[in-house]
């Protein structure tokens, strides 16, 4: 249907999956008890894995540096608990790959070492970046790109805007929403630190209009502050994708293969801004994750604060366990999250949610031929033809897939969500991309 009646800020395409946010939106964060065992994968971010600096049987305390940054795109890791190093070896992770990890058996000691206090009145941009780097902060929206790297852009990129991404467009997840309404002051302080680090005058927070109370709270906080603007955006998936967010707020389009930097924008997640606040104001390294545990397959959905490295099973048990009809355990949101096979795998820095989904929510049915209905094209936020890309990938015609823009696909899942033929479009496209990059490497 024509969308002529909609004058809210948004983008072209997109879908409206059932939100299920009500399951957890009214629940304040709870801290879970310290788990008996913590598993810390050395690779929790995009870029190089960290280098371990502890050995088996070593005693560690909470807040201790146990793995250091390795190269420019990497981040250090701190122990979230006190205890002993049980092992250093390959473990399953929630990212569907096995990774070298440090396993720590925790004890009751809750004391923790913090970073030295900073002079908050005279803090410089360099000090902020250094503290963010030191705290091991990565983008907590899911991509886990080292944050300090995003705070020190190349000299030739002129940035004039920082946007905090408060869309939380994935169904079910309420982590960012809870952070916004429980800690609005910390959030604004975090945003100001980011603006200071990048020497920017203008900051914005983009929030989908299904979180009106968060918009109101933040609006109220910045009403006398001209440097920060709160934007109410149309609730539509994937509004929280960087390119869609920038389009909606600034009407700038990030060209294919480019980054937000290239159109003068820095994007940070709500959780990241809070982590930056905690690192600078409180001297805390990034050792805990706030996340949503939801879905119709979990007994009691919750919003939780969890030590990084806690195995999924401890978190699911704390939430009352899994129902009989649970079908998939997903880390992340339902549109882009990853299914789990080993519930001993630990959550990582950028884990924003754990979902236990039942048959009813998944709504799967048999695949049929493509009917060329064009629905995937209608909803694709980056104007691709998903059905063709999938077909090319399937037939091994990967150069044609590349010509048709396969690398522009961000695998948001919008096309597969609507496909009446239930073709696993994202799976084929990801397959095609992988084939292409392998072919390129071989050359």
């Amino acid at each position: 249907m024509p969308k002529i009646f909609n004058n809210l800020l948004s983008f072209k395409g997109g879908v409206h999956p059932k939100e299920y946010k009500y399951l957890t939106s009214s629940l304040p964060f709870e801290k879970i008890p310290t788990p008996s065992k913590i598993i810390l994968p050395l690779s929790q971010n995009i870029g190089a894995p960290s280098t371990p600096i502890v050995n088996k049987k070593d005693e560690v305390f909470a807040g201790q540096l146990i793995a250091t940054q390795n190269g420019p795109i990497s981040a250090p890791i701190y122990s979230p608990v006190s205890g002993n190093v049980l092992s250093i070896g390959i473990e399953d992770t929630v990212s569907s790959f096995t990774k070298e990890s440090i396993t720590i058996k925790s004890n009751e000691n809750l004391e923790m070492e913090l970073f030295p206090k900073l002079d908050l009145n005279n803090i410089s941009d360099k000090e902020i970046c250094k503290r963010v780097q030191m705290a091991g902060i990565v983008g907590l929206g899911g991509a886990a790109f080292p944050t300090y790297f995003k705070l020190t852009p190349p000299k030739d990129k002129i940035i004039d805007y920082v946007i905090l991404n408060g869309c939380e467009c994935e169904p079910y997840l309420t982590r960012d929403y809870r952070l916004m309404i429980e800690r609005p002051k910390d959030l604004i302080a975090g945003l100001k630190l980011i603006m200071k680090a990048l020497n920017l005058e203008k900051g914005a927070i983009g929030i989908e209009d299904n979180k009106q109370d968060a918009i109101d709270v933040l609006q109220n906080l910045v009403k006398d502050d001209n440097s920060i603007k709160i934007f109410s955006l149309k609730t539509k998936y994937p509004q929280g994708a960087e390119k869609m967010l920038i389009k909606a707020i600034l009407n700038r389009e990030v060209p294919p293969g480019k980054l937000p930097f290239d159109v003068g924008v820095a994007i940070q997640n709500i959780g990241t801004a809070i982590a930056i606040y905690e690192a600078v104001y409180l001297g805390m390294p990034l050792i805990s994750a706030s996340l949503t545990v939801s879905g119709l397959g979990i007994k009691t959905p919750k919003n939780l604060i969890v030590p990084i490295g806690t195995p999924l099973i401890d978190i699911l048990e704390y939430c009352g366990g899994i129902m009989e009809d649970a079908k998939r355990v997903v880390v992340g949101g339902p549109m882009m999250g990853i299914t789990q096979h080993n519930l001993n795998a630990p959550i990582m820095k950028a884990t924003s949610g754990i979902l236990v989904l039942t048959e009813k929510e998944i709504n799967q049915f048999d695949e049929t031929n493509c009917l060329r209905c064009g629905k995937c094209i209608e909803v694709c936020p980056v104007n691709l033809t998903p059905t063709k890309l999938a077909r090319f990938s399937q037939l091994g015609r990967i150069s044609e897939a590349e010509e048709n823009g396969i690398f522009n696909c961000m695998e948001c899942g919008t096309c597969a969500y609507v496909c009446p033929a239930n073709i696993p479009l994202v799976q084929w496209i990801a397959f095609g991309k992988k084939k292409l990059s392998l072919a390129k490497k071989a050359v």
């Binding site: 390119k243 549109m335 936020p381």
Partner: protein, 320 residues
């Protein structure tokens, strides 16, 4: 802890995202189309007599039978329950004249599904609208009986002419009111504009069809027909007549919007709709046949791959 794992782990599915799916399925969309056809089916029975149901029943059952046999021969799963072959059967019946021979109807249904659809590889792979392929075959094979029209009547079958042939050969114009309600001569499902429009509203509201193709067809037929009318109103009919007479509305709503055989991109949908209407008007006003909807849609079906090729939208962020 271990207890919970042993209970649930074997049941956990590993799958690629997304992990949720919309209400859409092929089957559901097809059945929505069948529902949208019900008002038109009722109108055909109302105007041409309950006995016409035998044409619909024959067409649908032979269409299903053909698909079942071909799928069986090709050792593919029988997919009749997806509803698409039922739609082909109904559509074919509704574009046939009242009291059409049941034997010919059956032949038409076999051709529609066999040649129109399965030869290309089945659902999703056909280039031409199967029902129209069946109709075109019948037109060529039985040119006389397929243009023998019956006056709408609840009792007797009286031979009559369609509003379009009256226009073409006798320069007489049927009243717009009659065309709208449907008590005029014509194919079973094509005469009642109101019944078709009820189906159209249903299909648009449920999102099964896109508004672009029907709107492009209606607007351009109105404008293009209007130009001729303004040039010479005594010779050319008023453009509203073009919209309501013959198979135009039925074609715009149920034929040209067929997912498989219509363009993929929005710009292409406009081009396709406009081109169909221009052809229809040209055939009606200057061609040898009184009606041109079937051939216009079939011809444009053949152009769809080309239209798709040249109307691909720009990728997000690409510089113009």
């Amino acid at each position: 802890m271990s207890e919970t794992i042993s209970i649930i782990s074997p049941k956990l599915e590993i799958a690629r995202s997304p992990h949720v799916h919309s209400k859409w399925s092929t089957k559901q969309a097809m059945w929505l189309v069948i529902i949208a056809l019900i008002p038109t089916i009722i109108s055909s029975l109302l105007f041409f007599g309950i006995s016409q149901f035998s044409i619909i029943a024959t067409s649908v059952s032979f269409a299903m039978l053909t698909e079942a046999i071909i799928k069986n021969v090709r050792k593919q799963p029988i997919s009749i329950d997806d509803g698409s072959v039922i739609i082909t059967g109904i559509l074919l019946a509704l574009i046939l004249p009242p009291n059409f021979s049941l034997v010919s109807t059956a032949i038409g249904a076999v051709v529609a599904v066999g040649i129109g659809k399965e030869v290309f590889g089945g659902l999703g792979f056909n280039i031409f609208n199967p029902a129209l392929v069946g109709r075109a075959f019948l037109q060529a094979a039985f040119p006389v009986s397929i243009t023998t029209w019956t006056e709408p009547s609840f009792t007797d079958a009286v031979s009559s002419a369609t509003p379009l042939s009256l226009m073409k050969f006798d320069n007489k114009f049927e009243s717009i009111n009659n065309l709208f309600v449907g008590n005029v001569g014509g194919s079973l499902g094509e005469t009642s504009a109101i019944a078709i429009l009820i189906g159209a509203i249903f299909l648009l509201a449920t999102g099964v069809i896109n508004y672009r193709v029907p709107l492009a067809m209606i607007l351009s037929a109105f404008i293009f027909g209007g130009i001729f009318w303004l040039i010479d109103p005594s010779h050319f009919t008023n453009p509203l007549f073009h919209l309501l007479a013959g198979g135009f509305l039925f074609g715009a709503i149920f034929m040209a919007t067929d997912w498989v055989t219509s363009p993929l991109y929005s710009k292409g949908m406009w081009i396709y709709g406009i081109a169909i209407s221009i052809l229809v008007i040209l055939i009606r006003l200057f061609g040898g046949l009184p009606e041109g909807v079937m051939y216009s849609i079939l011809l444009l079906n053949g152009f769809v791959p080309l239209i798709n090729k040249y109307t691909k939208p720009q990728i997000f962020g690409e510089v113009k």
